[in-house]
């Protein structure tokens, strides 16, 4: 079995954060955790090539690194592609997820990675990939690699994969049929009885989990701050130039408010189902408070208002979508040096 393994600069032994800019490179054979991976896979498995990149380089050059990895994995004639495990390292997890999903989609070979549930890469890629839940403790390397190797072998042999709990991967949100002894009604009554008696029971509905987003520190000097307005209320220029869908939107837009003292109803429309848009149509400031922001800007209460507002429609949208759009908006705001954002939500 021929394996190609992806590692970041740290696990490849190049160095820590100071080496995060390290360029993409190829090594022959197994490196670092790859040696243990090889042993755990057994059966004469061989890590024929290790691909290494600094975390910053991988995230900043995602498209070119994906292309390079696809080429190398194809060249190596690999049966299996492995990335990580990445534990809590966010950029590493994002790169591992992007690379695994590209290899899986383009080359059709089994892929496996590992990361903590809180890793942003898990949010983005758990629906597409088998990601072993590594937790955040890199000292558990052997245990994590063991589970990665076990599941990888199953994928290679095209054996049935068990439930997330049994195999140790992060739930993918897939629904599949299986036979049970008791009807839904019987199971439900048993759960209710157990709950009443304070006995343990396991719900069949998995509530969506929201990993806490750390709060950045407050704005220190509002008079110097650059602010931006965002809304998920679906306010778009007349004609909806970006064709933002009124439900389950996959797109967002950024619209100029340069030299505008306020927003006028005749210039805008609402692309958002589910709420009565007549009031915002009459006066869009009721959703995007431009008039007041301009006053505060003039009075010097705030430093500056960025001259575009961002908009999308926040209705009946899968989390994978909204998380992606949120990230894209945050990247834009960061690039523009925005200090704070007021996001109005319907």
């Amino acid at each position: 079995m021929r394996v190609v393994h992806y590692l970041n600069q740290f696990f490849a032994g190049l160095g820590g954060e100071e080496k995060a800019g390290a360029l993409f490179e190829t090594r022959e054979g197994a490196v670092g955790p790859g040696k243990l991976l090889e042993q755990l896979l057994g059966d004469g498995a061989q890590v024929v090539m290790t691909l290494v990149s600094g975390d910053n380089y991988a995230v900043e050059n995602q498209q070119s690194i994906i292309a390079a990895v696809l080429e190398k994995v194809r060249e190596a004639n690999a049966d299996l592609f492995v990335a990580g495990p990445c534990f809590q390292a966010g950029r590493y997890g994002m790169a591992a997820g992007a690379l695994c999903s590209a290899v899986q989609a383009k080359l059709g070979i089994p892929v496996i990675t590992g990361m903590a549930q809180e890793n942003p890469g898990s949010d983005l890629y758990r629906e597409t990939l088998f990601i072993i839940d590594s937790g955040d403790n890199a000292a558990k390397m052997r245990d994590v690699l063991t589970r990665m190797a076990t599941l990888a072998k199953k994928l290679l042999a095209k054996e049935a994969v068990g439930l997330p709990k049994e195999e140790g991967y992060i739930p993918r949100g897939l629904i599949r049929d299986h036979f049970v002894e008791k009807t839904a009604a019987e199971r439900l009554v048993e759960m209710v009885l157990a709950k009443v008696k304070n006995e343990p029971f396991e719900s069949e509905m998995i509530p969506t989990a929201f990993a806490p987003v750390p709060m950045p520190p407050g704005v220190r000097d509002l008079k110097k701050a650059k602010l931006m307005l965002i809304t998920d209320g679906g306010l778009v220029p007349k004609g909806n130039p970006d064709r933002i869908q009124s439900s389950a939107a996959t797109r967002w837009g950024s619209y100029s408010i340069k030299d505008c003292a306020d927003l006028r109803g005749e210039d805008y429309e609402i692309s958002h189902g589910g709420y009565d848009p007549q009031f915002v149509r009459q006066d869009p400031n009721r959703l995007v408070p431009l008039d007041v922001m301009r006053e505060l800007e003039q009075e010097g209460v705030i430093g500056e208002l960025y001259d575009e507002f961002i908009s999308t429609s926040g209705l009946a949208n899968p989390l994978s979508n909204t998380r992606r759009m949120g990230r894209e908006m945050a990247e834009k705001a960061k690039r523009l040096g925005i200090d704070a954002i007021i996001l109005t939500s319907t």
Binding site: M215, G218, F279, D283, R286, P289, D291, V292
Partner: protein
């Protein structure tokens, strides 16, 4: 607001109803602008804090 709290959004400020989060269709134009200004000021205060209090 319950949704913002459920998903753990940082610094939530309660707006004035879904149909006009930053306005009020029931009052005069001048009064509505005062309402909006108060809401924006609440948001600006929240932005200067280091917690959700």
């Amino acid at each position: 607001m319950p949704i913002a709290e459920m998903v753990g959004a940082n610094r939530p400020v309660l707006g004035n109803g879904i149909v006009h989060v930053m306005g009020d269709a029931k009052v005069s134009v001048d009064e509505e602008k005062r309402v909006r200004r108060q809401l924006v000021q609440k948001a600006l205060e929240a932005l200067q804090r280091d917690d959700n209090s």
